[in-house]
C-alpha cells in the first residue's frame, strides 16, 4: 500500500508551504487524560513513605551495610516523599 507523505503539501497548492514549528497538525484530542507526572508522583510518594518508615525503624536495628550510620533510607525516603508529594499535588486530576 502506497503511503503518501503528508503535512507540508497537504494544502493542495501543488508545493510546499511554510508551517510554524510549533503548529499542531493533528486534530486536538478532546479527552482529559491524567498526566504521566501524576503517576510518577504516586509511585515516588508510596516508595518514599515506605523507605522513610523503614529508615526510621533502622535507628533501632541498623542494617549491615557500609555507611549505615548516615541513615540513607531516612534522607532518601524523605527526598522521594517530597518529590512524589510535589508531583501528586501539582498534577492531581481536577474534577470538572
Amino acid at each position: 500500500m502506497e503511503e503518501k507523505p503528508q503535512g507540508l503539501h497537504s494544502g493542495g497548492d501543488g508545493g510546499a508551504h511554510r508551517i510554524a514549528v510549533d503548529q499542531k497538525d493533528v486534530k486536538p484530542h478532546d479527552h482529559h487524560m491524567i498526566p504521566v507526572w501524576f503517576f510518577v508522583g504516586v509511585i515516588l510518594l508510596i516508595y518514599g513513605v515506605i523507605i522513610l518508615a523503614t529508615g526510621i525503624y533502622e535507628f533501632s536495628s541498623p542494617p549491615p551495610t557500609v555507611l549505615a550510620k548516615t541513615h540513607p533510607a531516612v534522607w532518601w525516603g524523605a527526598l522521594l516523599t517530597v518529590i512524589g508529594g510535589f508531583y501528586v499535588y501539582a498534577y492531581m486530576p481536577k474534577k470538572s
Partner: protein, 580 residues
C-alpha cells in the same frame, strides 16, 4: 534494548552458562523489598488498564495519538534505551575497562542524538509516516521498505527474547529467583500493558521507569563518593589498587591498539562508534525513534532528543561510576565470567555488589525495581516497535490492504501478544542453545550501519534513486554478514577488517560497521548514477532541498531547539576535556 551499543556487556552474561546453575545469590530481599517490587508491577498494569480507554485508533495505539510533549517523548526516548542489561553490562564494562566505557554514552550517543533532533527529525515528522521502514517506502519504494521491515521485525522480537532470558538469568544469580518465573511474570506484564494501551502505555511506563531507574541507582554513586572522599579519593584508590592500568582517562590510552584493555584505536571509537554505529542506532533504529514520532508537534519532536541528550550524558553517573567505585572499594578483585572460581565474583556482578554494599531493606527493593524497570522498558520498546512495523509495514502493504482502522488496531494488539510469545520462545531457545546469542546479537548490528547510510543519503540528496537505496542497503547488509563470517571461519582476516590482530570483539564491531556503511554509501551512489531518480515533486517533505523546513524565526532564542542543542554540545566537549 541492547543492540551493539550494549552488545559486549550483554554478551558477558553468556560466557559461562554454568553460572546460573551455580545456585549462588548475591542479595537477599526482605518483605519490604518484595512489597516495593509488587507495587511496581501493580502500578504498570494499572496504567495499562487506565490508558486502554484512550486507545481507540491506530494513531493512538501505534503513535500515542501524536500528542506527547517534548519532555515525555524525550524521557521515553532515553528510557527505551536504558535497559537493565545496559545498566549492569556497562557497570561491568567500566570495572573491566575503566572510564573508557563512558565513550558509549558520550561520543557514542550525544552527537548522534543532537543530529537526530536537528537534522533528521523534521523529515521523519513532516512525512507523517508511522515508522522508519515507512519513510523508506515513501523515499525508495516497497522493496526497500520490505527489506528493512522484515529484518527489523525479525531481529527486534529475537532481541527481546534474548534480553528476557538474560534478565531472568540476572534475577537468578542476583536474587535466586526461578528463571521460568522471571521470564513469564515480566513478559506477561509487559505484554498486557502494551496490548492494552499501545504506545501510550509503553511511553507512560517508560517515563515512570526513567524515574525509578534514576532514584533506584543514584544512591550508589552518592554513597560511594562519600566513602571514597570524593572524585580525587576515588582516583587515588584506583591507582593504588591497579597501578599498572589507566582506568581514569577517556582518550589518552587510545593512541595505540595495545595501549588500552579494549584493544581499540581512537579512530575506531570516533569513526566506528561515534559515527556509524551511534548515528545508525540513534537515527534509524525504530525502537528509539518511535518515541519521538509520538511528539505533538515538530518543535516537540526536535526538542525531545535534545532533552534526552542531557540525561544520556548524565547516565554514566549511575552506570560507569559504580564500576569505578568497584575498582576503588571492593576488597577483592572481580574476574571475567570464564574465570570465576568458588567464592569469586565476576565483573557482571559489580552493580549488585555495590547495591548490596550500601542499600539496606527498602532501598534494596528500590534498586532491584530499577533493574526490573529497566528490563521492562526495553522489552516494551521492542514489542511496541515490532507491533507497529509488522502491522504498518508488512501486514498492511503485503497481506491485507485497505482494511478499516479498527482492524489494524486489533492487529496491533494481537501482534503485541504474538511478539511476547515469540520472545518467550526465543528466550527458551537461547536457554538451550546459548551460542545463538552471539549470532543474533551480531545479526542485529548488520542492518543498523547500512540503514543509516540509506536513510542519510535518502534525506540529504535528491539524486538517490529507489534502485540505489535498495541495492545499497542490501549490499551493506550482505557485506556486513560476510565480514562477520570471514572472521569467524578465518581469524587471520581480523587484521584486515579491524586493522589489527589485537582487536577485540568490540573493536571488530566498530570497524565492520564502518566498512558496511561505506559499502552501502558507495553502492547507493553508483547505482543511483545509472538509474532514474524520482521527480523532485515526489520528494517534497522527504528530502533536504525539496522541503521547506519549519520556520523557528518567531520563537525566542531559548525556545529554539538549536539553542539547547548547542549547550548540550558544549557540555559534551567540556566533559571530553575534563576526562581527557
Amino acid at each position: 534494548m541492547s543492540f551493539s551499543l550494549s552488545l559486549a556487556p550483554a554478551m558477558l552474561w553468556f560466557d559461562t552458562p554454568d553460572l546460573a546453575q551455580a545456585g549462588k545469590r548475591l542479595i537477599l530481599l526482605h518483605p519490604v523489598d518484595m512489597a516495593i517490587i509488587a507495587i511496581y508491577f501493580a502500578m504498570v498494569l494499572g496504567i495499562g488498564f487506565y490508558l486502554k480507554r484512550y486507545t481507540k485508533s491506530g494513531d493512538d495505539f501505534f503513535l500515542a495519538g501524536r500528542e506527547m510533549t517534548a519532555w515525555v517523548a524525550g524521557l521515553s526516548f532515553v528510557s527505551a534505551n536504558l535497559g537493565a542489561l545496559e545498566l549492569m553490562g556497562w557497570a561491568a564494562a567500566s570495572y573491566q575497562y575503566g572510564i573508557l566505557a563512558t565513550h558509549w554514552y558520550w561520543v557514542g550517543a550525544i552527537p548522534a542524538i543532537l543530529f537526530l533532533g536537528l537534522v533528521l527529525m523534521p523529515f521523519y515528522y513532516i512525512s507523517k509516516t508511522h515508522s522508519v521502514p515507512g519513510y523508506l517506502q515513501l523515499r525508495f519504494g516497497e522493496p526497500t521498505r520490505a527489506l528493512s521491515a522484515i529484518s527489523f521485525a525479525f531481529m527486534t522480537v529475537l532481541m527481546s527474547g534474548i534480553n528476557m532470558y538474560a534478565m531472568a538469568l540476572v534475577m537468578k544469580v542476583v536474587l535466586g529467583w526461578n528463571i521460568h518465573f522471571s521470564i513469564w511474570v515480566s513478559s506477561i506484564t509487559v505484554g498486557v500493558y502494551v496490548a492494552l494501551g499501545g504506545l501510550f502505555s509503553a511511553i507512560f511506563n517508560e517515563v515512570l521507569q526513567f524515574f525509578l531507574i534514576w532514584f533506584g541507582a543514584l544512591l550508589i554513586p552518592i554513597l560511594g563518593l562519600v566513602e571514597t572522599g570524593g572524585w580525587k579519593g576515588l582516583i587515588a584508590r584506583i591507582h593504588q589498587n591497579f597501578p599498572q592500568g589507566d582506568y581514569t582517562h577517556l582518550w589518552q590510552p587510545m593512541a595505540h591498539f595495545a595501549g588500552n584493555p579494549m584493544g581499540i584505536h581512537w579512530t575506531g571509537i570516533v569513526l566506528g562508534l561515534g559515527w556509524v554505529i551511534s548515528f545508525g542506532y540513534w537515527n534509524t533504529d525504530f525502537l528509539v525513534v518511535q518515541r519521538i514520532f509520538a511528539a505533538k508537534d515538530i518543535r516537540a519532536a526536535k526538542m525531545a532528543p535534545i532533552i534526552g541528550s542531557y540525561f544520556k550524558m548524565a547516565v554514566p553517573f549511575i552506570v560507569i561510576l559504580p564500576g569505578l567505585l568497584g575498582l576503588a572499594l571492593l576488597p577483592f578483585k572481580l574476574v571475567p565470567e570464564s574465570a570465576v572460581g568458588i567464592g569469586q565474583h565476576s565483573y557482571n556482578e559489580v552493580l549488585p555488589l555495590m547495591l548490596a554494599r550500601y542499600c539496606g531493606p527498602g532501598l534494596l527493593g528500590l534498586g532491584i525495581t530499577a533493574l526490573i524497570a529497566g528490563f521492562m522498558s526495553g522489552m516494551a520498546g521492542n514489542v511496541s516497535a515490532f507491533a507497529t512495523v509488522w502491522t504498518y509495514d508488512l501486514y498492511r502493504p503485503f497481506i491485507r490492504k485497505n482494511a478499516s482502522d479498527n482492524h489494524y488496531l486489533s492487529m496491533g494488539r494481537w501482534c503485541t501478544i504474538l511478539g511476547v510469545i515469540v520472545s518467550i520462545g526465543t528466550a527458551y531457545l537461547v536457554m538451550h542453545f546459548g551460542s545463538i546469542m552471539d549470532y543474533v546479537q551480531a545479526l542485529f548490528s548488520f542492518f543498523i550501519a547500512p540503514l543509516f547510510g540509506t536513510v542519510l543519503l535518502g534525506m540529504m540528496w535528491k539524486r538517490v534513486t529507489p534502485a540505489g537505496g535498495f541495492w545499497g542497503l542490501l549490499a551493506g547488509s550482505v557485506s556486513s554478514v560476510a565480514m562477520f563470517l570471514l572472521v569467524k571461519f578465518n581469524h587471520s582476516m581480523l587484521a584486515y577488517i579491524a586493522l589489527s590482530s589485537d582487536a577485540k570483539d568490540m573493536a571488530e564491531n566498530m570497524y565492520r560497521a564502518l566498512w558496511s556503511w561505506l559499502i552501502c554509501v558507495i553502492v547507493t551512489v553508483a547505482v543511483s548514477y545509472f538509474t532514474k531518480p524520482k521527480p523532485v515533486e515526489e520528494l517534497t517533505g522527504l528530502v533536504y532541498g525539496c522541503t521547506e523546513l519549519p520556520d523557528e524565526g518567531h520563537l525566542p532564542i531559548w525556545k529554539r531547539p538549536i539553542f539547547w542543542a548547542v549547550i548540550s554540545a558544549i557540555l559534551f566537549l567540556i566533559l571530553q576535556w575534563i576526562f581527557w
